[in-house]
């Protein structure tokens, strides 16, 4: 049990709490990505490179990408339900959702 492990575990615990209490969806998806990143690092320290690798590609890339796409879609659906469908949306909002944390 070394200091690095303790620090990482504490960070993971904190990131878990932060993920749950962040109620704004996009920010939450980003925080979830950070949690995935920290878990990946923790797994490296726990001598599990295979798992760390998977967690990095899934927990901090693929899953947040899915989440951001879904959030963007939900917003669009709600926005278009709220107002008439005639005006076009701001450009650029379309695709950025798939790029990790870059969405608004």
């Amino acid at each position: 049990m070394n200091a690095l492990l303790i620090i990482l575990l504490t960070l993971v615990g904190a990131a878990g709490w932060l993920t749950v209490t962040t109620r704004e969806p996009v920010r939450q998806a980003v925080v979830a990505g950070i949690l995935g990143l920290l878990l990946g690092l923790l797994f490296f320290v726990l001598q599990a490179p295979d798992v760390a690798f998977s967690e990095l590609v899934v927990g901090s890339a693929a899953v947040p990408a899915m989440l951001l796409l879904a959030i963007a879609k939900v917003r669009e659906q709600q926005a278009s339900a709220a107002r008439a469908d005639d005006q076009s949306e701001p450009p650029g909002a379309g695709i950025s959702g798939s790029q990790g944390g870059e969405a608004d």
Binding site: L9, G13, G16, T19, L35, L39, E55, M66, I71, Q78
Partner: protein, 115 residues
């Protein structure tokens, strides 16, 4: 201190469940479920750790060296796939629900028995 990793697992379990219970948004709820799931990763990998053990990959180390338990790692790999699938399916359901009924709030459901 030697049970700290398991306590972190317990903490993540509690956090995630708390989030699911109080969630006002299905997407938030989905993310909370992944937090619950991360508790299983931490428990499984924690259980298989051996002090001073190396990763169970015998590429640069002797076949006799002490390694951490490879089984739990294989189990966790499966677990991670399950995470991805659960998130994908839930998001599909959520998107479809939102498309048709314009809400992602789990508390605004139709089934309210008031007679």
């Amino acid at each position: 201190m030697s049970v700290y990793p398991y306590l972190v697992a317990a903490w993540l379990l509690g956090c995630g469940l708390y989030g699911v219970i109080t969630s006002r948004n299905y997407i938030h709820l989905t993310i909370c479920l992944t937090v619950v799931q991360s508790s299983t990763y931490v428990l499984l990998l924690g259980v298989g750790y051996v002090n001073g053990g190396k990763a169970p990959i015998f590429a640069g180390i002797s076949e006799r060296s002490v390694v951490v338990d490879p089984i739990v790692q294989a189990l966790t790999l499966t677990d991670i796939v399950v995470e991805a699938t659960v998130v994908a399916l839930l998001l599909a359901l959520i998107l479809q629900a939102n498309k048709r009924y314009g809400t992602t709030d789990p508390d605004r459901t139709t089934r309210m028995h008031e007679e």
